[in-house]
Symmetry: C2
Subunit: 350 residues, 2 copies
């Protein structure tokens, strides 16, 4: 049976015509989509933005470049497996990688609340540099603003990034096509649960660490091997479910995935149960899906398993002709339509 | 007589070794410099960042690109002559133009406080698009985050920008040399005073409007005409005084300027007197200085006067060998050393 589903742990569908901004408008789900569609896209209309890709793909004198930006407002600033600085660097590197680009340069803009400890700022900055060095990118330009106490929250960081696209492929949500294999790079839910566990004071046998990591290496490995990659997407706000829904809609294909094939760590699963969350909607910061030509699927999985950050990669499903929706084959053998996240599940997760 | 001078209206020199961030660290003066030198530069060490330019100048497969970022936290969000949206677009366009680049693409990252009116967001976004269209640039990628009520202040906007450098010149602070003519593009102090007047509830015969505007056109005109441009700098946080000090230090030249040649609107001057501010330190958002070869000075002034945004351009001084400092020949005939802004004069001006 195929029935629409409201993701666990999300609020009832909020009134999306509200006249003021709600937390959910930043959640990466349907409210964010509605804000993009009603406010940003009509004003900024241009083809690069309308592609709704993780990065804009631009041509500058015959050279294809990827360009992307993200602001980071995660709370707490330091969490198991990372901090806002590492997140700000790896997140933007990942958006570039998802366009098939080799990340080259980052900018860093800081909005600091008056009274923030300089030693914490130094720790965050060191963490940014470590992540940049590990990925071979340079932070080449920056900006600092300070706001009055009570008008910010420690520090917010924006990073923008430039990468160069050297593959002839057009890797984009709209390039997925019926018959593609869908490969997931590893287990899901770690980042969101790591953050929530700190916020809620949950304790586990061992600490759940965020999966926060750069994904340029597995992407480069796929492209180097000539795998026919159609679409890449990292599984940030809104999780696996929202990413797959966005791609299904952009490419006008159906997505079928098998629950049994989607790895979730036992502790992460336990925490999700306690918190009433569905791991399919929980944010990751070091996981992605690759839509590749079916004939390349096995080879792609093998290549991904050769990279530390995607050692647990596996095929979780395929695309089909028909309705642009995501259908999950559940562990007990039923089918369930998996919607996009509605409203906000985990505020300020990145 | 040449004596060091503390800018009017700034606090006594703050203790720059303080362990927490103060508003002044975002002011664009000595505290900002100290934060850059002690926290950011040591961590992010690379040649593009060390150039301390408005934009980083990068080479991507033989193509010179400029890349820059700024976050905007101005208060109030709407002010005479502009709003945070216009400011966010023109400010980043100007940073690209100051590297001699033709601005092409912008990103936009929004950090919105829960409860912010959607209608205000729509106004700001429309204003961004209008400024982008006017300058021929596209906003191609974006991001939205929402923070809890009381953890932000309406909306903060980050823009990053990419431009292409088509001139063979190396336009940078370090390229100024002794004997250069210094040209100022128009009257100073409008932006800072427009903001302060709203905040302090000052009323004038006619409203003082911010000079907020894109500066790509006058820069393109100079380059098209083949003027030997050594350095360009827009006069934002810290004003004319701080910009000239930065260039003097970067190029290891002395700067001599003549007070009589620096245009200040009568109402702006009056407001500065009331507020205890020195117009030399007040932020502008549509003014710049050009350091050009002396032989090209007259021609450069003429070209700038042909562009609406710089119709009042004039030569205000020259560079000399000797100490890297800025000396003002005052209206009454004395000499005064003009230091960099210390601390914060006008918080959250941009």
């Amino acid at each position: 049976m195929t029935t629409p589903d409201v993701p666990f742990g999300s609020c009832p569908l909020p009134h999306s015509n509200a006249s003021s901004i709600m937390l959910g408008h930043g959640g990466g789900g349907t409210l964010t989509q509605s804000l993009i569609e009603t406010v940003f896209l009509p004003a900024f209309a241009n083809s690069a933005l309308s592609a709704r890709h993780d990065s804009a793909v631009l041509e500058v004198n015959g050279q294809r470049l990827a360009f992307t930006t993200d602001s980071y407002v995660v709370r707490p600033l330091f969490f198991p497996g990372g901090d806002i600085g590492k997140l700000a660097v790896t997140g933007t590197i990942n958006d570039l990688a998802m366009a098939g680009a080799r990340p080259l340069y980052l900018s860093a803009g800081f909005i600091i609340e008056e009274g923030f400890a300089k030693s914490d700022l130094a720790k965050i900055v060191a963490s940014m540099q470590a992540a940049a060095t590990e990925a071979g990118v340079q932070i080449v330009t920056g900006d600092t603003k300070v706001v009055d106490k009570g008008k910010g929250d420690g520090v917010f960081i924006n990073t923008a990034g430039i990468g160069v696209i050297e593959t002839p492929l057009t890797i984009a949500p709209g390039s997925a096509r019926a018959g593609d294999a869908i490969i997931l790079s590893g287990d899901i839910g770690r980042h969101g649960i790591a953050i929530m566990a700190v916020r809620e004071g949950l304790e586990f046998e061992s600490t759940i660490e965020s999966d926060c990591a750069s994904l340029h290496a597995p992407v480069a490995a796929l492209l180097r091997a000539g795998v026919d990659v159609h679409c890449l997407r990292d599984l940030t706000r809104g999780g696996l479910a929202s990413a797959l829904n966005e791609i299904a809609q952009a490419a006008a294909v159906g997505v079928e995935i098998t629950e049994r094939e989607i790895p979730v760590d036992t502790q992460v699963r336990g925490a999700c149960e306690i918190l009433g969350l569905d791991p399919l909607y929980v944010a990751n910061e070091g996981r992605f899906v690759a839509f590749v030509a079916a004939g390349d699927a096995e080879r792609a999985v093998k290549i991904l398993r050769g990279e530390p950050v995607s050692f647990d990669a596996r095929m979780i499903g395929q695309t089909v002709t028909g309705t642009a929706q995501v259908v999950l084959r559940t562990a007990i053998g039923g089918n369930r339509v998996v919607d996009m996240l509605s409203g906000e599940q985990l505020p300020r997760i990145c």
